[in-house]
Amino acid sequence: MIEISKKKSVLKLENLTIKFGGLTAVDSFNGYLNEGELVGLIGPNGAGKTTIFNMITGIYKPTFGNVIFNNIDITGMKPHVITHLGVARTFQNIRLFSEMTVLENVLVGEHSWLTNFAAQKVLYKHNPKVYRRPKWKPWFWSAVLKTPDYLKMEREMRDHALELLKAVDLERYANLKASALPYGPQRKLEIARALATKPMLLLLDEPAAGMNPQETQELLEFIENIRKRFSLTILLIEHDMKFVMGICERIYVLDYGKIIAHGLPKEIQNNKKVIEAYLGDEVYV
């Protein structure tokens, strides 16, 4: 069984349900993530995994249920506000800004530093003692007029972006177009871009998709690495079982929008329901 840890809760999903017309894509999903955990979300195709990601990041609004991030109810907030609060994600099919350079891709993630006023306000409202009252700055005008304030910010952003690229070992590609990168580094860049928004919670949607075993192994180490380095809590969707079993501390298994199992990797491996969901019922002829 799973021990109940005393750690701080980062994400809590309460009765998360979404219906598209008559189809219930996700049916009262209950789940949690504690600080520093790395949790897997698996299930057959169409089980509703990515839909859960989309609800957490605000792209879909759940029909019922709540998304609690850091004790703040973020259900129904705008995607950009949720990102500014500290939830970043990557995509199943890589969605880099392919016409822009590697460095610019990361810098786009850092644009949120200038525009996070709404999120700051949410934080202040949530806990006025800890967070300072946000001050709105006309960053847009500063950016157009290139005030010293803005130039300083731009320098900081650039330095931070380069540091981030160094951390993910993409520094040498900095001025290359993102589309010119090989597949593996593109995946890494997508993660680096997500890290640029300074997240606490990172949602990875099939990070190992389309990778060979060796690349997958590298990715596994890479994720472990950044998790420690940036003290992240990670929720990931993956189909590669070896990868999932090797990296996740806990696993949720989803089928037809419902949790069918939840537990440690070992427990999941031997769970009858999970095997059924993946391989189908026994058939008697």
């Binding site: 800004f97 786009v108 993630g109 949120s112 525009t115 950016a143 997500a194």
Partner: protein, 353 residues
């Protein structure tokens, strides 16, 4: 590859600007009236094109409402600079309403107010229509531009309706138009190469990813739309004082103008500011040159009467050919930069040595 340093860039650009200034001075004094008017028009077109490329190229939303904002800017500025006696004379169907009929101001404040009013209209048009995407947005903006034109055509007590405004003082000189073009390029260039510009380019490539990166897509698009509207208004104000007569026909400040500017930015390369300027230069010169085909001519013994609209036919053909075979235009998404020149000329020279 050697990089052109920031300092060098600055020096070369300053030299270029000053050099262009001298060239304009020379052109103004010795090219004659006709060509100095064309050179003035080039800058006006370039202002319209650069502001249009901010929306259609950099931000990647396909608007067809540019002429609407140009018209708003043109009418606002013209109503503010028209001499009071001229207003009394022109508005003979219905007199001009109160504050406007007793105001006459200088060119600069009128131009800026024209820009601000156009920006305000851009906000009003953009706010609802930016909720649409793709073709729907294009159709909505096209419709809004047409609404603006038809409102202008029918509000006799403000715009003099279909009669248009006559006798607008011809304030627009080479200096005004090229000065405003410089301002436009500096502001929009500065915007494009700032963090906001990066956000705009990002959302033009992938809205979903941009949203996940914490970009408020709607607000950024609206911001680009309003800035574009402002400079469209400036362009319109200059245009009005260059034409000295404006009216709300579709062929003058209507949909035709949007298509002219669209041709310029597609020719120059969508999303490139320098491309937009080059496109405007080509368009303005080609439009003059194509006057020949509209005049009667004698082709190998075959007498052809002047066909009005022939130049548009050629433009349309060229436009289709560009779309088919040369979609990236002159510059693509790149900008003219000293680095580009360096790579192009000096690197080759270096290789030879």
């Amino acid at each position: 590859m050697k990089r052109v340093s920031v300092k060098m860039n600055f020096i070369l650009t300053t030299i270029l600007v000053i050099g262009s200034g001298f060239f304009l001075l020379f052109a103004n004094n010795s090219f004659g009236d006709y060509w100095s008017r064309i050179i003035t028009l080039i800058a006006i077109y370039a202002i319209m094109a650069v502001s249009y490329t901010l929306v259609n190229g950099v931000t990647g939303i396909f608007s067809l409402g540019h002429a609407g904002f140009i018209a708003v800017g043109a009418y606002t500025a013209a109503l503010l600079t028209l001499p009071i006696h001229q207003k009394a004379m022109s508005f003979f169907i219905q007199p001009l309403i109160w504050p406007l009929n007793s105001i006459q101001m200088g060119f600069l404040p009128a131009t800026i107010i024209g820009g601000i009013v156009a920006a305000f209209f851009a906000f009003i048009v953009g706010y609802p229509s930016l909720r649409l995407t793709g073709d729907y947005f294009a159709i909505a903006t096209l419709a809004f531009a047409e609404i603006i034109r038809i409102v202008i055509q029918n509000s006799y007590s403000i715009t003099n309706g279909a009669l248009g405004l006559k006798g607008i003082p011809s304030y627009t000189t080479i200096w005004w138009s090229w000065g405003w073009l410089l301002v436009t390029i500096v502001v929009i260039g500065s915007l494009k190469f700032s963090s906001y510009g990066r956000a705009l380019r990002a959302l033009s490539e992938d809205t979903v990813a941009a949203r996940a990166m914490g970009i408020n897509v709607f607000r950024h698009q609206l911001m680009a739309f309003v800035v574009s509207g402002f400079f469209a208004g400036i362009g319109g104000a200059l245009y009005a004082h260059w034409l000295t007569t404006i009216d709300p026909r579709p062929t003058s400040l209507g949909i035709m103008l949007t298509f002219y500017v669209l041709i310029m930015i597609v020719l120059g390369g969508l999303g490139s500011i320098s491309g937009a300027v080059l496109g405007a230069i080509f368009f303005a010169i080609a439009a003059q040159w194509l006057r020949i085909v509209e005049s009667p001519m004698n082709l190998f013994g075959l007498k052809i009467p002047g066909i009005p609209g022939m130049s548009m036919l050629i433009f349309a053909t060229v436009f289709i050919l560009i779309m088919l075979f040369w979609r990236r235009g002159i510059m693509g998404k790149r900008e003219l930069s000293w680095q580009l020149f360096y790579n192009f000329f000096l690197k080759e020279a270096g290789d030879r040595n």
